[in-house]
Amino acid sequence: MASISVQSNDFDISEEIAALKKDNNDVGAIVTFTGTVRDIGGTLRTMTLEHYPGMTEKELARIASVAEERWPLLGCRVIHRYGTLKPGENIVLVITLSAHREAAFKAAEFLMDFLKSNAPFWKKEQTNEDNRWVASKQSDASALDRWKK
């Protein structure tokens, strides 16, 4: 069972890895992905993430359970933040553990692809000029095609 958190506070990657791995020496591969707030040309002041409490946790758990069915994972952790974040701050963390690297790499990528297209989060950027909702990218939707069996 994957461990899912939707929270406003930051996370510590080392602590999260240690908590997930514990003393499980069957683990031979640990993959982490961290998404951070990117400033484009020094104009971004803050980014606010809205989400759908109640659905967000369920949707992340659903995506993780599909990954766990598809690859032999020994651990899986997803943390996604909401609220107002500054450039450089952490947004999302995915950690996957497996015996060999292929499962951990593929599952982490799969999780991020489906999270981007399905987890109910919306970003709004506060720049020096205005406030604007971030538009979804067709490339994110297209990324799902490669996981079709």
Partner: protein
């Protein structure tokens, strides 16, 4: 039914949540969007571009042809942009 709005659709409609007794004319998500579009000018504008309107029923993503019931929680939002 409870209707929830998110992101720029929430801002456009002017409310995050409203409750509604299911009108007789409403069978599917698409019917509901048609009904809500008639509620106010703000609703009409916010819900106009159907290709940008995503819907979840009871926390599960659904298509616009999905049949809905009076006890459902219907969330209406633009394409998601997390991660």
């Amino acid at each position: 039914m409870i209707i929830k709005y998110f992101s720029w659709i929430r801002e456009g409609v002017g409310t995050a949540e409203e409750s509604l007794a299911k009108p007789g004319s409403v069978t599917t998500v698409s019917d509901l969007l048609d009904h809500l579009s008639g509620v106010s000018e703000q609703h009409s504008v916010a819900l106009k571009e159907r290709v940008f309107i995503k819907v979840a029923v009871n926390h599960v993503h659904v298509r616009h042809d999905t049949v809905i019931g009076d006890g459902d929680e219907i969330a209406i939002f633009p394409p998601v942009t997390g991660g």
